[in-house]
């Protein structure tokens, strides 16, 4: 589900034997995205971090080293790749920061309370909306399937909530909530 879209722009830094850029698909089997985050951070040791990552990449994929000519060129291409994915890496960094906080002991009680809610219609609907946005792109392309789902879940509150979440997401074409939901729907 997670897609690594290769950057479409060229690699201004690469001056090796080939004039091309690195793609995330070439890099992520070896380097973690978390490591690439370091390349968009304001680090004093950026140069050594970059060379370290480039050397690891070269070691794991000698063809890349051949194509880029030398580790320095590979290092520059790596930096260009990080820059072209800056927004994505920035959000990934923020996600890590969020996880580091909320997966620690002080938040266990909060998670337990949320989970205790079990099949709470509002929470369930929010989770389903996330799954729909994440996993069912076809449903977001006006096929009407989500509409059908929302129209038939037998609790009118779920219908309203899911629609509002999906509408808020801005990704899904959601038709207006019917003013009247049949009483036998509840």
């Amino acid at each position: 589900m997670v897609t690594n879209r290769p950057p479409e722009n060229g690699s201004p830094g690469a001056r090796g034997n080939v004039n091309r850029s690195l793609t995330l698909a070439e890099v992520t089997p070896v380097l973690q995205e978390e490591e690439l985050i370091q390349l968009i951070q304001n680090r004093r040791d950026l140069e050594s971090v970059r060379m370290g990552l480039a050397n690891r990449l070269a070691q794991a994929n000698p063809t890349l080293l051949q194509q880029f000519g030398n580790p320095e060129a590979l290092s520059r291409a790596l930096q260009a790749l990080a820059e072209s994915n800056r927004e994505r890496l920035d959000l990934l960094s923020r996600k890590e920061s969020f996880f580091k906080k909320v997966l620690k002991a002080p938040f266990r009680a909060a998670w337990a309370t949320i989970k205790f809610a079990g099949r709470h219609p509002i929470l369930t609907t929010a989770a389903l909306a996330a799954l729909a946005l994440w996993g069912v792109p076809a449903l977001m392309e006006g096929t009407g399937a989500i509409e059908g789902l929302l129209a038939q879940v037998p609790v009118n509150r779920i219908v309203e909530h899911m629609r509002s979440f999906l509408r808020l997401s801005g990704t899904v074409p959601v038709s207006p909530i019917p003013e009247t939901i049949p009483p036998d729907f509840i």
Binding site: M1, L91, R119, L128, Q152
Partner: protein, 137 residues
């Protein structure tokens, strides 16, 4: 028992009966975040789910042949069976704006202390979510 509520949520809370409000303290959530379709789409792309239950639901939703199947699949969702980390993935993916909407909806339907405890838990998670998305100074 402490609720971290936005000013809009505080208004809803103050509209609750005295009995419901009894024993609860409030603190204003002052952090804000302006979401966008683009940013939300990237967060969704970064969402990594491993929970077999969630993957099964997402997979079944993907392959559902008709609306009736989708309804059946939706009804199998049970938050209590989802790991904390997976819920954190979902919350980060949805973002603080949707989470605030959830909080507001919950507040409007509060009928007991247990309902407020859910709000308390959600707002406790929302605050670090907001913190993590603040512009860098």
């Amino acid at each position: 028992m402490m609720l971290h509520l936005t000013s809009a949520e505080l208004q809803i809370f103050e509209g609750l009966s005295e009995g419901l409000r009894e024993g609860w303290k409030t603190k204003e959530e002052t952090l804000t975040y302006e979401d966008s379709d683009h940013t939300r789409a990237i967060r969704m792309e970064l969402m990594r789910l491993h929970d077999p239950l969630l993957l099964a639901i997402a997979g079944k939703m993907k392959s559902a042949k008709n609306q009736e199947e989708l309804v059946q699949i939706a009804q199998t969702m049970d938050i209590s069976k989802i790991a904390d980390a997976e819920l954190a993935e979902i919350f980060f993916g949805l973002g603080p704006v949707v989470l605030s909407q959830v909080v507001e909806l919950l507040l409007k339907e509060v009928q007991s202390d247990d309902d407020l405890k859910i709000v308390e838990a959600l707002t406790a998670i929302r605050h670090p979510l907001l913190e993590s998305l603040q512009p860098l100074s």
